[in-house]
């Protein structure tokens, strides 16, 4: 029996084949999917914000790119995964709303994407597929039996990463 596991805002989930990890309706948030094809386990993080240093107190690692990604990687390592086998795919980071006179701080989507890429780089992980930016929201479906990540957007064909 495969379970479908919902990963909500700021949550991190790790599971094994044949489960499905799902995030519905990502806007400016970024979904990070990591898969170990050898032991068929995978994890997903639903990241809201780029940088934990702007906050006084990190109550939840899953919220920030710079804390969520190391947490996700170490949760996978605890389950026997190795960094060298990890395949990374990311999706999200859209700019849903635009205001006149918007400043850089409000461009949270693109900032999330950059921060996610930086954090992955710092751990020596390479991104093998991505669907980021633009102004459309996304849903992600990660099949842990194959590692295939499907990205769904409103009124457009699915993207397979």
């Amino acid at each position: 029996m495969s379970n479908s596991i919902r990963v909500g805002m700021s949550e991190i989930a790790v599971s094994k084949s044949p489960d499905l990890l799902v995030t519905l309706g990502l806007g400016s948030c970024v979904g990070v999917c990591i898969y170990d094809f050898y032991i068929k386990i995978g994890g997903m993080a639903h990241i809201m914000l780029p940088d934990s240093s702007t906050t006084n107190e990190v109550t939840n690692n899953g919220k920030f790119a710079d804390t969520a990604i190391p947490a996700l990687v170490s949760q996978m390592e605890e389950k026997g995964s190795l960094k060298s086998r990890m395949v990374v795919k990311i999706a999200g980071g859209a700019q849903m709303f635009s205001f006149a006179g918007m400043n850089n701080k409000m461009l949270i989507g693109p900032r999330n994407v950059t921060a996610v890429e930086d954090s992955l780089n710092a751990l020596g992980l390479r991104i093998s597929g991505k669907s980021v930016g633009g102004n459309l929201g996304r849903s992600i479906f990660m099949d842990l039996s194959s590692g295939v990540v499907k990205v769904r957007m409103l009124n457009s064909p699915d993207i397979i990463l």
């Binding site: 805002m9 309706g25 919220k63 849903m96």
Partner: protein, 203 residues
């Protein structure tokens, strides 16, 4: 921190939300020349992980009109309408309903933003008169997308301050069900305390 409110505080927030929404509903009714009714506001305090879930399904396509409120109690305001109702609304305002039936064009978007502007003006005016808090709203922005993605984007920056979102929700509808929308006031962390103070139900 904000995840617990006393019944008195909840009542006070509901009441001030009610006054604001009633003004907005009156204005909408005048604008469209139809009877518009509203529900008593619901105050939802939700963990961020669940906050995107409770308006239909997260993948439900909706039109969202989003405004920021600045001043004494910085907040966000969001209107959500199903696509067909949004087009109908835009049609009523433009007065050429047959012309905006299928697509959210520039004209329809502009009309919907203006509706957001007018309703927010009424809401914020009533709210700030009642509480004595100075408030000013931004220009509106609009998105047509999955409702989860819209909420997700708006709530993301609340994460910097806490793990909970406070959503004060009112439903607006016309009696012939031609209009049916959700209205949200989402106080920034800290703003809720200011509002409670102003209402004399300090925590």
């Amino acid at each position: 921190m904000v995840n617990k409110l006393t019944p008195l505080q909840l009542d006070a927030i509901r009441e001030v939300g009610n006054i604001g929404a009633a003004h907005a509903a009156t204005v909408l009714s005048q604008l469209l020349n139809r009877k518009v009714s509203m529900t008593v506001p619901q105050v939802n305090i939700l963990p961020l992980a669940e906050a995107c879930d409770f308006v239909g399904g997260p993948e439900e396509p909706m039109v969202g009109i989003y405004l920021r409120v600045f001043g004494g109690a910085p907040s966000k305001i969001l209107y959500l309408f199903p696509e067909d109702k949004a087009l109908f609304l835009a049609g009523l305002l433009i007065d050429e309903p047959e012309k905006c039936r299928n697509l959210l064009g520039e004209m329809e978007i502009s009309a919907l933003k203006e509706i957001g502007n007018i309703l927010t003006g009424a809401y914020v005016y009533a709210f700030s008169t009642f509480t004595g808090i100075n408030m000013l709203s931004s220009v509106p922005a609009l998105a047509f997308d999955m409702v989860g993605a819209i909420l997700n984007t708006i709530l993301a920056d609340l994460g910097e301050m806490g793990d909970y979102a406070v959503l004060i929700e009112t439903k607006l509808m016309a009696c012939d069900s031609s209009i049916d929308g959700h209205f949200f006031l989402i106080p920034d962390p800290g703003a809720l305390t200011t509002i409670l103070d102003a209402l004399g139900v300090k925590r």
